[in-house]
């Protein structure tokens, strides 16, 4: 599994509410987050689904990241690095991965088209790449939380949200 040496956790200020804080990840020195990239990649091909996903995220910011809104078992290597996907509507084509922290916060990754012909994400190269990328990020964030570099303040992450292992 390829390690990610540098990334930053960025709050998506478009989604506000008392239910859950919503973050995404900017890799390296990118200013664009993984979620921004996901929207850009799919807004023209699947505009209605992108609208629906954004509406659902707006609602989650107000109602909380309740377990029922997500599909779990999208990848688990060890404690606390579970990757989930936003529950998609029956006829949807898109899968969006995230890391969920109880009901109070989610970190959005990327995703992509999920064919009806496949049963598992491992059968699709793009989904596999996005899923495994978020797993490595999740593991590194959990390490930073355990070390106290990143802390929780209510439902917000505080501390140094820029992870940089390039000199390590």
């Amino acid at each position: 599994m390829k390690l990610v040496e540098k990334f930053e956790i960025i709050e998506l200020e478009e989604f506000t509410g008392n239910g859950a804080a919503i973050y995404s990840i900017a890799l390296g020195d990118d200013e664009e987050t993984l979620f921004d990239r996901f929207v850009k990649e799919n807004e023209n091909t699947y505009p209605d689904e992108i609208n629906s996903i954004v509406e659902r995220l707006k609602a989650i910011a107000r109602l909380g990241a309740r377990p029922g809104y997500f599909k779990d078992k999208e990848g688990r290597l060890g404690m606390g690095d579970g990757i989930e996907a936003l529950y998609d509507e029956p006829n949807s084509n898109l899968r969006l991965y995230c890391i969920r922290y109880g009901t109070i916060a989610i970190i959005l990754g990327g995703g992509g088209f999920k064919s009806k012909e496949i049963r598992a994400f491992q059968e699709d190269a793009k989904l596999t790449e996005e899923n495994y990328l978020l797993r490595t990020i999740s593991i590194r964030i959990n390490k930073a939380i355990k070390e106290g570099v990143i802390q929780w303040d209510g439902n917000c992450l505080t501390g140094d949200l820029l992870i940089d292992d390039t000199d390590a």
């Binding site: 609208n51 809104y69 140094d160």
Partner: protein, 95 residues
């Protein structure tokens, strides 16, 4: 260290602008109903399977209800209200 200024995705901004209040209200209500059902199940200590059995439904149907993506009929809402003893009608979100 100075925090990175996010280059706000123009794509996300476009999506936010084209979402209509009516469409968002519909999505919000579906998800709020799902939240109320989940809260009621927790209060009663019922599992999804137990609730499904009481509703004469498959657990996968209850999973769909709790996902916030289900377009409930009045009949289904009424049956759920009777089983759980809760009111599910949601008022519109404020913006």
């Amino acid at each position: 260290m100075e925090r990175k200024k996010r280059n706000r995705g123009a794509a996300l901004q476009r999506v936010m602008e084209r979402i209509t209040p009516e469409s968002y209200a519909s999505t919000y209500k579906q998800m709020a109903i799902a939240a109320r059902i989940a809260d009621a199940l927790e209060a009663k200590g019922w599992s999804k399977s137990e609730f499904a059995a009481r509703m004469n439904q498959q657990p996968s149907i209850v999973t769909r209800w709790l996902s916030g993506t289900h377009n409930f009929t009045i009949d289904t809402l009424s049956a759920i209200e009777e089983t759980l003893g809760v009111q599910l009608l949601i008022t519109a979100p404020t913006h």
